[in-house]
Structure formats: C-alpha cells, structure tokens
C-alpha cells in the first residue's frame, strides 16, 4: 500500500477544486491518504489605485486572474464558488481537522461547501460544530480552545518543515507536489510507473 498526504485549507479555492480529482485518484488505487490542515493566507484583492507600484500592480493582477481562473474551472467542474470581498477565516475548521479521528472526507466536503457555496465563517467554532454534527461527528470530541489551536500550530510548523507553503500540497514519500495539475505525476508515482 502507498501513502499519500494531502495538505488542505478550506479557504483555498485551489484545494476545493482539487477535491474530486484527488478522491478519484485515491479510489482508483490502493492508497492510504492522510488529510492534514495547512492554513494559507487569504487576502482581499486590493482595489486598483490610480498610482501603483509594480509590486502592488503585480499582486492585484495576479490575485484577480487567479480568481477568474478558479471561476472558470469551477464552472467546468459544475461547482459553485463564491468569492467574498473579504475572505472569511478557516481556523476553527482546520483545528477540527487537526484532531479528526477516522475518515474525514465527508467533513472536508461539507466544510468546503460551507465556505465556497454558503459563505460561512469557518473560524467560528459554532459553525464548525454544526458541520461536524451534520456529518455525524461528536463535536464535543473536538477542542476549539487553546489546546486545539496549539495542535494546529504544531501541525503547521511540522508541515513547513516538510516544505509545505500552500495548498493543495501532496506528499508522496519525499516528493512534494502543489496543485491538482500534478495528479498525473502523483498517480504515476503511486503506480510505480514513472
């Protein structure tokens, strides 16, 4: 059996759009998957200023284009994706994922939909508890206090020590891959066909 670690953040549109293709890959092979949280930075796209530095212009154009690209492929996948003017947080949902016992796929799917379809704030423990309960998970088993947050921070540090800096990041053995566009290589690695 092969092992695949997938780092995700619910507020990463790229991670959301990678879910179906990732699950398809997993279901096709004899792969054990470990889902891990990694909190990315999400910032509102700055308004165009009359006078911008090259840096400001680059960051604004890049963020705008990325958003449009995500919208395009969401439409191709038949998914709803709604970008908020001010991105909401995902800390509480990631804190729950860091402590998850058992297969978290149903919870991950529900949390992604809550964020990208319903525009919910996944930094709110009550919202996340409702999602957990909806998935049949006892939300009382999850700590959203400092202990839970510390666990997420520890996993974040551990991830960065492995070279993780964005999501979805896939780790197979010692190899890292960012983005679902890398799935052909990952699949070949898992099948030993490279």
């Amino acid at each position: 059996m092969k092992f695949l670690t997938v780092f995700i953040d619910f507020k990463s549109a790229a991670a959301y759009l990678a879910m179906d293709a990732t699950l398809k890959l997993i279901q096709a092979g004899d792969v054990q998957v470990i889902w891990k949280p990694y909190e990315v930075r999400a910032q509102a796209i700055a308004d165009k200023k009359q006078i911008e530095t090259v840096t400001e212009s680059h960051l604004r154009v890049r963020a705008t284009q990325r958003q449009q690209t995500h919208l395009k492929y969401a439409a191709i996948q038949g998914k709803t994706i709604i970008f908020q003017k001010e991105p909401k947080g995902s800390g509480a949902a990631l804190t729950a994922l860091a402590q998850f016992d058992g297969d978290p796929v149903e919870y991950i799917r529900a949390a992604f939909l809550a964020y990208w379809q319903d525009g919910l704030d996944l930094d709110d423990p009550e919202t996340v508890k409702a999602i957990l309960n909806q998935c049949g998970v006892d939300s009382n088993s999850i700590s959203f206090d400092q202990k839970g947050k510390d666990l997420l921070v520890a996993q974040q540090i551990e991830a960065e020590e492995q070279g993780v800096f964005d999501t979805p990041m896939y780790v197979v053995g010692s190899e890292r891959f960012l983005g679902r566009e890398q799935l052909p290589w990952i699949e070949a690695l898992l099948e030993n066909s490279l």
């Binding site: 293709a21 530095t53 090259v54 840096t55 212009s57 680059h58 960051l59 154009v61 890049r62 705008t64 284009q65 690209t69 492929y73 191709i76 996948q77 960065e160 070279g163 993780v164 800096f165 964005d166 890292r176 891959f177 960012l178 983005g179 679902r180 566009e181 890398q182 799935l183 052909p184 290589w185 070949a188 490279l194």
Partner: protein, 222 residues
C-alpha cells in the same frame, strides 16, 4: 504591438529566465504542431524582485535576501518542481546565482519572429538549455548573437535592434502587460482568455480545436 492582439490564434508569453517557461516549451511546441498553425511567441521580461523579493547567491549559498520563509519555500519548490519536469524532458536545470536581466535574450524572440519565425524553436533550443546549465551569459549581446547564429538566424543589425526598435518594442509591450491581466510566464492569450501556466494547455487545445467533448481540467503533461 498590442499585448492582447495578434494575427495568430494564440499568443504565448515567455521569459528566458523563467524555469516554468522553460519546461512549458516542449508541450507548447507539441501542441502547436498538433494544431497545425503557428503561435505568436512574445517576451515577458519578469520583474522578479517586485513580487518575489530578491536574493543573491555565491557558490550556492544565499548571501543577501529580503524574502520571507514562506516565500523561500515557494521559490525553492518552484525550482525543484521545474527541475523534475526538465529532467524528464532530458534537460538539466540548475538554480540561478542571481536574478538575470533577460531582456536582450527576450528581444531576440522579437528579432526571430520578424526575420525567421520558422527558426524560433531552434533559437529557444540554443538559449534555454544552456542558460539553465549556467553556461550562457544572457546579459551579453554578443552571446545572444551567437545563439542566433547557432540557430541559423541572421544577426546583421541585431545589436542595433537591441538598442533601438527592439528595445522600444520590448519595453512598450511590458508596460501593457499588467493592464491586460498578464503577470507571469508562460501566459497564453486567445480570444477572450488570459491563462497563466502550462497546466491550461489541455483546455487551450480543447478550445482551439473546436470544443469537442467535455472541457478538460488543468493538468501537467508527464
């Protein structure tokens, strides 16, 4: 030259100093061959310090940098990722020791497009692999001239072109890029679309060949 306009059905923006542009060449040329028409290849000279910070290395060690740890992780990953694809294509790809000014080599793209478009791939073959083996000083116009010669392209007037019309064309193009939504390489422009990254090639080919079947998702060819 307008950033979004061309007689060709697809514009491709590349930069000699981009590892991702390097590994995008083979699949993009393969697609050009399959589709059976020429693309309009153009230079985009990246201003790397403006968005990724800057750093200077000597003998493989960073001696000067203003990059955050997360940014470093991203940059190191980008080189590692491009390297594995380059190696699959049969090339070496070594990290650069400094941030190069690639404008001369990129003006060379404009020169080739004007004088001998059919030899553009030969020009890229003369520049990219050597540059990424750290064997080419792309800031030296005579070196770029030699690459043109190696690719079988006329060089008479190239140096003057670099100082006059070629430089003006290059610089005018760069100033139009951000307002057109273009910020990195490789970028593909066609009809109403601007797409950054070779992972969009399946979708682009699907669009340019008549949208037969379901639209494909992003994917890097192995």
């Amino acid at each position: 030259m307008k950033a979004m306009e061309s007689d060709a059905r697809l514009i491709v923006y590349v930069d000699v100093k981009s590892p991702y542009a390097f590994v995008a060449l083979a699949p993009t040329f393969a697609m050009e061959q399959r589709l059976g028409f020429q693309f309009d290849w153009r230079p985009l000279t990246l201003d790397i310090p403006s968005y990724a910070g800057s750093a200077r290395k000597e003998k493989g060690k960073v001696i000067e940098s203003n990059r955050s740890q997360r940014k470093w992780l991203g940059i190191k990953y980008a080189y590692m990722d491009a390297r594995r694809y380059a190696e699959r294509q049969g090339y070496n790809l070594y990290g650069t020791e400094k941030i190069w000014d690639s404008s001369l080599a990129n003006i060379g793209i404009l020169w080739v497009a004007r004088h001998d478009r059919d030899r553009l791939k030969a020009y890229f073959d003369a520049v990219y692999p050597l540059f990424w083996r750290r064997e080419l000083d792309i800031e030296n116009v005579e070196v770029v001239c030699q690459c043109l010669t190696n690719a079988g392209i006329v060089t008479e007037g190239f140096q003057v072109f670099c100082e006059t019309e070629g430089r003006v064309l290059h610089d005018q193009l760069q100033s139009q890029l951000h307002p057109s939504g273009i910020y990195g390489v490789p970028t593909y422009v066609f009809e109403d679309e601007v797409l950054f990254g070779r992972e969009h090639l399946p979708y682009i080919e699907w669009r340019l060949s008549g949208c037969v079947g379901a639209a494909p998702d992003i994917s890097n060819a192995l």
